[in-house]
């Protein structure tokens, strides 16, 4: 028989062993990618630890296809930033006002609308790809920024999160603001949002991340190199003339992850909060 501390030790060891194995599986591809981006081309597939560190792939990435002063890679970063930022602002804006209306106002059809939003969260995005694409063609929005971000401007998930949080704000605060002369819109932006800092940050970073990583939709609506976001540009590197240069692919992919790592570093407490609050997302 094992005594108490022995069995505790065993179970702890087992737990850590399991977690460590899991961690290796998750983190190994990333480490491999970062290392690969720093290796000479010849070593990428046949050594894990490079014999020397080189930045040649990174230099390649930035100079690739450059005409004069603009590099397509920098241009793609800019495009990704524009589309992700606009979407983030928009999701927060619409999520907050809709969440407020659903949580704190009374109007006809409120429950129907609430259920519709929940209902909509159940469908996989892929279902909407074709109809959306057809819509974009009709609108003439293929190869435009708005074509890229417009389907994501409102998020059922974000709205739901704001709604749930706004329900917990005491009614008297809203009453006080109304007496102080706030319009409903002011109440949302001067009272509710500042009180919901964590929710707002969570909605913002998760939205930003998912837009930064988005690939399929961008691929469908952009053909123009000037408007192409980073994820799509990198996708191109895996095909055609560049497919025999794995170094460019891994260096580009490493760069793609940097903003997300930075976000994670600065807002790490909100990541854990966000995941516990919402279930896994992003």
């Amino acid at each position: 028989m094992l005594n108490r501390s022995q069995s505790k030790f065993l179970s702890l060891t087992a737990t850590y062993a399991l977690l460590a194995t899991g961690l290796i599986f998750i983190i190994f591809p990333y480490i491999w990618m970062v290392l690969a981006s720093l290796k000479p081309s010849a070593e990428i597939y046949n050594r894990l630890i490079p014999t020397r560190i080189t930045l040649e792939h990174y230099r390649m990435v930035f100079s690739l296809g450059s005409t004069g002063s603009t590099s397509p890679f920098v241009r793609a970063i800019f495009n990704s930033l524009v589309v992700s930022s606009i979407t983030t602002l928009s999701v927060v804006f619409f999520g907050a006002i809709t969440g407020y209306a659903l949580a704190r106002l009374r109007f006809k059809g409120q429950n129907l609308l609430k259920n519709f939003i929940l209902f909509q969260m159940l469908f996989p995005i892929v279902l909407f790809l074709i109809p959306r694409f057809l819509l974009m063609i009709r609108l003439g929005w293929i190869n435009t920024y708005q074509g890229m971000f417009s389907p994501f401007m409102m998020s059922a998930w974000g709205t739901f999160l704001f709604m749930q949080f706004f329900k917990t704000v005491p009614q008297s605060l809203i009453d006080a603001a109304r007496l102080d002369g706030c319009s409903e819109l002011r109440i949302v932006f001067r009272i509710m949002l500042p009180l919901s800092k964590s929710v707002t940050i969570i909605v913002a970073i998760f939205t930003f991340m998912s837009m930064w990583d988005e690939f399929l939709w961008y691929l469908i609506v952009t053909k123009d190199y000037n408007l192409m976001p980073l994820s799509v540009l990198l996708g191109l590197y895996t095909r055609g003339e560049y497919s025999s240069y794995p170094g460019i692919q891994v260096a580009g992919a490493t760069l793609l992850t940097l903003p997300i790592l930075a976000l994670f570093y600065f807002f790490r407490e909100y990541f854990t909060k966000g995941i516990t609050m919402t279930g896994v997302k992003g």
Binding site: P170, L173, A176, A177, R178, D180, G181, L195
Partner: protein, 364 residues
């Protein structure tokens, strides 16, 4: 300062709860009016209707000469103080007080002056830079008051503003609010369920029960001439003793209880008008005296269950065959002790008779 007039006000909430009905009340300019009643009787609803935070189901509300039924809260020239203070947690004390003025586009320098003036009055100058969560309950309460004062409204609405404070602070704030009223002379509607606040603070009291006004009057009127059994029992602590008695006219008008008989001064015509032999007799605990059981002029003799002495006065709990009786007395007779009998003498000019069914007072 403004008068407030509620005419035939009804409020039914969306879930079909009838919160107030047939509510008629004229509040005078500069009056300090208390709304009191048990939980759920509709006090807050009335305040929120006056503030415009809820919509009337029926009726009319005037503030000053203006019918405000369709006026939004911010244009009603009122300020409200909430039970939980409702300070904006993300703003400093200064910002909390200034916010309403900013929304009304008061010039910046005026805002500064008004906030400092109010903060001075309430002795919270030193707290202006703090956030609400860095304040004690009493300080938060004063900030909430300050936020109302800087608006210079025509009407203050208070919804149980002191109920979250400890007893000592409550006494202080009570005095402070009364001082403020004397100074500003703003009309105040003040909701409470604290008897002491009701009795000591207001010019008039409105007693409510289940959405209906039970009585409107000065504190002394309410105390000495309760219009019905509910008011009699609600105001006064401990509450009025209620004893079922029968009226007899033969051989002379008397009130009969198994343990005592009291003479009745009323005429037989009055007795006929009641139409019932059974009535409830109301006697306040302070309207009796205790004496030795063998004294000559006592009305009843009952055993003592418990004596609670509070120094200047004592509560004596007596056991009756069909209930309890509480006496509140200053002088304790020498023979008083728990378990022994004591004689009780009623103050005959302080008796209240209530109709057996309706509970209405039977005025002589």
């Amino acid at each position: 300062m403004a008068a407030i007039r509620l005419k035939n006000v009804h409020k039914t909430y969306p879930n079909n709860v009838l919160a107030v009905s047939s509510f008629n009340l004229d509040i005078n300019e500069g009056e300090f009016l208390i709304l009191v009643g048990p939980s759920g009787c509709g006090k807050s609803t009335i305040l929120r209707l006056i503030a415009g935070l809820e919509e009337l189901t029926d009726g009319m509300i005037y503030i000053g000469d203006q019918l405000v039924n369709d006026v939004v809260p911010k244009d009603r020239n009122i300020a409200m103080v909430f039970q939980n203070y409702a300070l904006y947690p993300h703003m400093s004390v200064y910002q909390n007080m200034a916010f309403g003025l900013e929304m009304r586009k008061v010039p910046k320098t005026d805002i500064g002056d008004r906030v400092h003036e109010a903060a001075d009055m309430l002795q919270i100058i030193d707290l202006l830079d703090r956030k609400p969560k860095e304040l004690s309950g009493g300080q938060q309460q004063r900030v909430a008051l300050g936020r109302a004062i800087v608006q210079k409204p025509a009407v203050f609405l208070f919804d149980e503003p002191l109920s979250n404070l400890d007893a000592k602070l409550r006494v202080q704030m009570r005095a402070q609010i009364k001082t403020l009223h004397a100074l500003l002379k703003t009309t105040i509607v003040y909701v409470t369920h604290d008897q002491v606040e009701a009795m000591t603070m207001g010019d008039r009291i409105v007693i409510m029960h289940e959405g209906l006004i039970q009585q409107i009057g000065t504190p002394l009127e309410i105390y000495h001439q309760p219009r019905n059994r509910f008011v009699g029992e609600f105001i006064g602590s401990p509450p009025m003793n209620i004893l079922p008695v029968t009226i007899t006219t033969d051989p002379k008008p008397e009130l009969r209880h198994p343990d005592f008989v009291l003479p009745l001064a009323q005429t037989s015509a009055w007795l006929e008008s009641i139409g019932s032999r059974q009535v409830n007799l109301g006697i306040r605990p302070e309207d009796v005296t205790l004496a030795d059981p063998h004294s000559a002029d006592i009305h009843a003799t009952w055993p003592v269950v418990l004596i609670e002495s509070m120094g200047h006065e004592s509560l004596v709990y007596l056991k009756l065959a069909d209930g309890d009786f509480v006496a509140k007395v200053n002088d304790l007779p020498g023979s008083l002790k728990e378990g022994a009998d004591i004689g009780v003498r009623f103050q005959l000019d302080r008796l209240h008779l209530f109709h057996w069914e309706s509970g209405e007072v039977l005025a002589p």
